[in-house]
């Protein structure tokens, strides 16, 4: 196997090494191309990491359902009827649709997105107040900085506890004040703060100026009875959210005598659609950057081939001598081909190392993310690296054939002709 012929390798390295300047010049194109390819790939990876971190904590296979007003008259009801869910709906839906993984009912004080005045020691904040089940945390994860989130005992015992957002804290407390265990007053009822959460760079449907109290406590404190405002639902993996969404709506429409074609009566928000959009955006981005990188790599390898072609012309005499001394066309072809590959691989490695160094520095500088730079941990994966390397070698092999055949076409008699 000629690949393991030590002499051939020696010959190739000798030729390249003894012509260092020419070799370096040839390498430059591929070095830069590899640099561009790796940086672009890392950039798109970093961007998709960034998106992932924004959505971290939000189950991608989730949807939110709330009641709105009907837009069609149906079964004797006029249009404009407000749809108000009952807590029993949650059980019905869970029973009828086994694909539902988690269903967290919610009720809010006031209208949807309404604001309620929260008091504490003469201070006030206009916050959203939600009655929630602990399960909500499985769908939209809160980044707690202090204390805990609501739990089962809170629900069972209808405890008067609450979890507040950072904005609410700022409005109700002094800077540095410990909020845990303190009481806040909502509609004349006192709640003890058990936890506080912070924005965590990601999307937050509820905002940071919000107070979460146990659903059961909410019912008792504010007399909401069996009403339910909202449902946060996550579906099992491998189940299409849109399918579950449609079934939920069908059941609700049937139960509340809503016209089957009424699109406005039930409000819903399909999280997976957003994810799909973002995913397709990042894959397009990935594709574009890969395309650009590969194209520049292609250009770089062509440059190698071009310079090799020129050097073949320069080396006419040398190759002629080699032929006269007994180098068969095969041997000459093999050597030129191997020179092309060695140059490309070396240049690729240099470009890669350089790019990795640059990325390492960038990562250190970025840390956990910098304001205004939509990148997080920009790096290439091992398969990406292997693929681009494999691609590069194949390309250099194919393109190296051109100078190799040119070298073989030199007839020794012409090469040796005295000028």
């Amino acid at each position: 196997m000629w690949l393991f012929d030590r002499d051939l390798w020696f010959e190739v390295f000798n030729t390249l090494g003894k012509n260092a300047f020419r070799t370096i010049l040839t390498m430059l194109g591929v070095v830069i191309a590899m640099l561009i390819l790796v940086l672009l790939l890392a950039g798109s990876n970093g961007m998709s990491n960034m998106f992932n971190s924004i959505f971290a904590g939000t189950a991608s296979n989730s949807l939110f359902v709330w009641g709105q007003s009907t837009s069609e008259p149906y079964k004797g009801f006029e249009r404009g009827r407000r749809i108000r869910y009952k807590i029993e709906d949650a059980e019905i839906l869970k029973k009828q649709i086994p694909e539902i993984e988690v269903l967290a009912p919610r009720i809010e004080l006031g209208n949807h997105r309404g604001v309620t005045t929260v008091y504490r020691k003469g201070r006030t904040s206009g916050s959203s107040v939600y009655g929630d089940y602990p399960e909500i945390d499985e769908i939209t994860k809160k980044k707690l900085v202090e204390g805990r989130f609501l739990n089962r005992t809170d629900i069972e015992d209808s405890k008067k506890v609450c979890v507040i957002g950072e904005e609410t804290y700022k409005l109700l407390f002094d800077k540095g004040e410990d909020a845990i265990g303190e009481d806040i007053r909502i509609n004349g009822v006192f709640f003890s703060v058990v936890g506080m959460y912070k924005p965590n760079n990601n999307i937050n449907i509820d905002g940071e100026n919000a107070v979460f109290i146990p659903f059961t406590t909410f019912q008792k404190a504010f007399n909401s009875g069996d009403r339910m405002g909202w449902m946060a639902i996550s579906v099992e993996p491998n189940t299409k959210v849109a399918v579950v969404e449609k079934r939920i709506k069908d059941i609700i429409k049937y139960k509340y005598d809503i016209h089957p074609d009424d699109e406005r009566a039930i409000g819903s928000f399909n999280m997976s659609e957003i994810f799909n959009n973002i995913n397709s955006f990042t894959s397009v981005l990935r594709f574009v950057s890969f395309f650009i990188g590969v194209t520049s790599l292609f250009a770089g390898v062509i440059a190698v081939s071009n310079i090799l072609l020129i050097t073949i012309k320069e080396r006419t005499k040398e190759l002629g001598v080699r032929r006269a001394l007994g180098a068969t066309p095969r041997v000459v072809r093999r050597q030129v081909l191997l020179e092309s590959i060695v140059i490309t691989v070396f240049a690729g490695l240099i470009g890669f190392t350089f790019a990795i160094g640059l990325l390492y520095w960038l990562n250190t500088w970025l840390g956990d993310g910098k304001e205004g730079i939509p990148l997080l941990d920009p790096m290439v994966s091992v398969p990406q690296f292997l693929w681009s390397f494999f691609f590069m070698i194949t390309l250099s092999l194919l393109i190296g054939l051109i100078p190799a055949y040119r070298a073989v076409k030199i007839r020794p008699i012409e090469a040796l002709r005295e000028e």
């Binding site: 002499d7 001598v321 080699r322 007994g326 180098a327 068969t328 040796l416 005295e418």
Partner: protein, 233 residues
């Protein structure tokens, strides 16, 4: 060793064809030292190219050491060159980025001789041309005469049947030329067959036989009393 019968060679030059060799008959025994002389255009270089398997003849027979040389593929020609022939050129044609030793070892590399053996052999031949101390030097660090001696060592390293020298002294001053001829004579003394193409009378007379070429035919083929180059060195 070499036998040529009725060799013809013509080149196409547009619509005309240039008849360069018009029926050459030539025979050289083993151990001969033959000078091929002729003015430019006489066909001596073409003859040497055909003898060196760098070019093919249009018609005629060429036998080298009993092997008919005919219709060779590039690969076969390269193998035969490597096995049968050693070349010495007017402009030395050393590979400029390789040391003297590496240059000498090159034909051995193409023969597939293992590296170590190659080095030893190359060094032995360098020693024979008196350049052992220059083994690691690049051609650019050698004088013209030294370069030609390296080239001769390279031609000899593969232990060819025939050494073909194309104007080996063409680029050298007379003192150096005699040094090179002295070396060639000594190699011939060891029993090697050598063909020297030259247009210099004094160089030709340092061979044992002179073949005169004119307009593509041999006009004179005579044995001469060899002038030893040693006395001029």
């Amino acid at each position: 060793m070499i036998e040529i019968n009725d060799l013809h060679k013509s080149y196409k030059m547009g619509s005309n064809s240039l008849h360069v060799l018009k029926g050459i008959n030539f025979k050289a025994e083993a151990g001969e030292l033959v000078a091929i002389m002729g003015s430019s255009g006489s066909g001596k270089s073409t003859l040497l190219n055909i003898l060196g398997m760098l070019d093919g003849a249009n018609s005629g027979e060429y036998t080298l050491d009993g092997v008919p040389i005919k219709d060779l593929s590039e690969t076969k020609a390269a193998q035969y060159r490597n096995k049968f022939l050693g070349f010495v050129f007017q402009s030395f044609n050393l590979i400029n980025y390789k040391s003297a030793l590496e240059n000498v070892a090159l034909p051995l590399y193409y023969q597939g001789v293992p590296r170590k053996e190659r080095q030893e052999k190359a060094l032995k031949y360098l020693e024979r041309v008196g350049l052992k101390e220059w083994a690691t030097h690049l051609p650019s660090e050698l004088s013209g005469g030294q370069k030609q001696r390296v080239a001769i060592a390279r031609a000899m390293a593969a232990e060819p049947k025939v050494l073909l020298a194309d104007e080996p002294t063409g680029a050298l001053d007379s003192t150096t030329s005699y040094e090179v001829m002295d070396l060639i004579q000594k190699i011939n003394d060891d029993g090697n067959t050598i063909l020297v193409v030259t247009h210099e009378e004094d160089i030709a007379h340092m061979c044992k036989r002179i073949v005169h070429l004119k307009d593509g035919v041999i006009v004179e083929d005579k044995k001469v009393k060899q002038v030893r180059a040693e006395q001029y060195v």
